[in-house]
């Protein structure tokens, strides 16, 4: 919330300005801290005077009018709802989609996704918990873009062995975790609302504790909920990355690309680590510690 308050003057100023030459429309939803952080990064890179912010949750928000205003050269859609709203209006200018998972190929724009590559996650784990090279991965066949073989291959390149078990729904989740017990050192969880949600997280964490199997989650909330560690994007940096992509696109240096997050954050749940007897390394990289 603090970020939103800090941004309020920028937002008000930007919203009240007429679209200048080279204006960029940013569609987003208020009320999500991660989006606010990304907006802060976008604003820091592009400057607030060029941005035309449209809060889709605000009364009277008129995205159609904003997209049709003269001088608009680019649209940034923050989040999947914003992208859907922009696409439904068939904007005549390129669109950059950011702060989303699993983006399909777009047209005339770029993507900044939130999927952290497996290699980056394993590199973080090597730093955080050295000498533990057996990773478990639960793959949802209905969502995963990678085959089990592809995941194993990528892990091998990082010096890890992975055990990939398919799980097509929450009903099989605990059995899948139980099947990994003793065979892996930690369990990597990829963002998947079907498998990991407020209903499933409690039994999952309990199974992790009872099976002495540390979970590596994908969000701060997951770490607070009981994952031993978490690896997730730096949303402010994702915003900067989006802003830089917009600058390149406006300068005609590229026609848009698909990028993953270039900066990640690592967190540990000290309480759970102590329960599991896991000694995470405190080294040079910054780690958020949740007690």
């Amino acid at each position: 919330m603090g970020v939103i308050w800090a941004l309020t003057p920028y937002l008000l100023a930007a919203a009240s300005l007429p679209p200048a030459r080279g204006a960029i429309v940013v569609a987003y939803e208020s009320g999500v801290d991660a989006y606010a952080e990304a907006l802060e990064g976008i604003g820091a890179t592009l400057g607030s005077s060029t941005l035309r912010l449209v809060d889709l949750n605000a009364a009277g928000a008129d995205l159609t009018r904003a997209l049709g205003a003269p001088g608009v050269q680019l649209v940034i859609a923050v989040g999947s709802r914003a992208l859907a709203e922009v696409q439904s209006r068939k904007a005549a200018v390129p669109t950059i989609a950011t702060m989303m998972l699993h983006l399909a190929e777009g047209e005339g724009g770029g993507h900044v996704e939130l999927d952290i590559p497996l290699s980056a996650q394993l590199q973080a784990m090597r730093w955080l918990w050295p000498n533990r090279f057996r990773a478990g991965i639960i793959r949802n066949p209905g969502r995963s873009r990678y085959s089990a073989e592809a995941l194993e291959s990528r892990a091998r390149k990082e010096g890890y062995t992975v055990l990939v078990i398919d799980c097509d729904g929450p009903a099989r989740l605990l059995k899948t975790v139980a099947a990994m017990k003793g065979k892996v050192d930690f369990l990597l969880c990829f963002p998947d609302p079907d498998l990991y949600n407020p209903v499933t997280v409690k039994p999952l964490v309990m199974a992790s504790l009872e099976g002495r199997l540390p979970i590596v989650g994908f969000s701060p909330a997951f770490v607070r909920a009981g994952a031993a560690a978490g690896i997730y994007p730096d949303y402010r940096e994702t915003g900067r990355q989006t802003g830089e992509m917009a600058q390149r696109l406006l300068r005609g240096e590229d026609r848009g690309a698909d990028e993953g997050p270039r900066k990640i954050r690592v967190a540990v749940n000290q309480r759970v680590a102590r329960l599991l007897g896991v000694e995470f390394k405190s080294g040079t990289l910054p780690v958020e510690v949740f007690r």
Binding site: D33, G79, L101, L114, P191, P193, E210, R212, S219, G277
Partner: protein, 658 residues
Amino acid sequence: MANFRTIFTALVCAWSVFAGSPDDGTKKAGDERVLFGDLPAVEAAALHAQTLAEAPANVSVITAADIRRYGYRTLAEALGSVRGFYATYDHMYHYVGVRGVSLPGDFNTRFLVMLNGHPLTDNIYDSNGFFGQDFGLDLDLVERIEIIRGPTSALYGSNGMLANINVVTRSPVDGERLRVAAETASFGERKLSVSMSRYLGGGANLMLSASVFNNAGMSFPADGLAVPAGVRGSFSNADGERGYHTFANLIWHDWSFTAYFNARQKQPPIGLGTSLSGDPSQHVMDSRSLVAATYKRQAGPGEVRWQLSYDQYRYHDRFNYPIGDDLAAVHDQNRGDWVNSQLTYELPVAGVGPLTVGLRGSWELRSEQYNLIDGEVQNYTARPDRSVAVFAQQQWDLSSRWKLYGGVRLDDTKNYHRFVSPRVAAVFQPSPRTVYKLVYGRPFRNPSAFEQFYNDGGLSYAAAPPLSPEVANTFEASMERQLTRNTTLIVNGFHYRIGQVIEAVMLDGGVQQYRNDARLRSTGLELELSGKAGGGIEVSGSVAVQDAAGGSPMTRLANSPRYLPKMRLGVPLFRDRLFVSGALQQFSARATGSGDLLGGSVLADLTATVRLHRRFDLQCGLRNALDRRYEDPIFLTVDRLRGDGRSVFLKLIWRVWE
């Protein structure tokens, strides 16, 4: 019966008002929301937290934050804030009433108090009379207090009639590395406590805590009391209290080890039986200790839990009885030692729901009661009991909205009869915001060794005839409804019938005897509205309306207020650096054991907690801030005692090493 019909009608009306109103749907969010959304923190992640099984009952929870913000320093204070509960104090023990039942002369025997799921009932009095400093755990160590209303004998056996109070301690992984607290209060109260937690490596976490206290006590008027020669007007130095608490918890992988040792010595200002009052040489000493190990792990499709404990209870007192022209110092000594073991297995039954089965055994190594008069042992009684129990509880998930619970427990003891206690409950949840519960139970209470076997030759207690277990039939209906995001309404109706009530009756000459011939019933309705306003302001209000009667013909129960309204308000200020809270509690008139009505009163408490520094908190509070005069019904040499007037306390907390 008319009252029960009224309550039932009110519940049906409440049901019809709320059952029909639709709940908000939820918006479908994009996949990335899984990264941003909140997930519920799993409290049981502490692993050692031996919480009660998911209870099909109306539950209240006092959290660690409540304890800190509202300045609860004893279990009696904390429970006194809960809907339908009330506490009385005879300056020897605190007595807690619920459902309008707290008979003078009882030893808090109709509910269970547990420490991390381990019953604290002693084996002499079957008492849970530990609510003041005689409760051997400092409330700073409490993570939460779960209060489960209604019968729990189907899971926990004897004494689980009216409610179950489970005190869950903080996990060693959550505690500060070193914490010191010092406390002082009116009536010469002083207390110092130290706690520490350490990670020992390899998944082992240890918490240690110790405290000492020494209270001078207040002065009492000598009016109407038999006091030692020379005492006139009032007496002081006869209400002191001192003692210590220690607690240790080690958790390591699937194991949790607990040690709980404590003792308290209290000077009772009011005499017992025919003894004198205001005699500073009189005292009672209680010690309730235990060491326990718990092992829990997945086994096959379910979870197995095994508990083994050694429990100890010590009590001795000294009261001076006038015999002829002389005073005889009588020391009452009680010693209990026993071993418990319990094995439970909880497994999911495909297509039905979770099933819990368990086996419990208890072996008393010692159960001694005797008197020492002039160094000579008299009235020695030792009747150690042994008991075994089997129990099972099945949950049937009939649909996404309906759940049915059925449980039964068979208890068999050497000293008493077998008893079968069933409980059935239906839970209907038409929406995530609303839940209705109906519970029927048949809980019981065996006579305690004290009630059955103790007598001191007629000084204060006469020998009891053979006693049978108390048996109750209980009916509960409740509705819990989340009115808005931050507002919750609870409506709870109950009807209890307890037969073969074991009750102390006063014989000629002020001597008590336990008998089995009473019966009682209690019918009531409770409402509670709680919520949070902007800025973190907490507001709650509740009222309990209850009609409890007993005897033949039925007359109003002693120490049973008909109305118990309560209010609580908490306001955080200066970005939570200061928390100011207030509580109002009213109780209507209560009868004494002799049938006299004592007027009701309103008690107001104020507490302020300020964070002076990152490592220092200062807390101060006023109790009975309006200095209202009232009397509690008691069962000593007199049947009423003036309640405490206005008092103030001050507490400094230093987190030396976080």
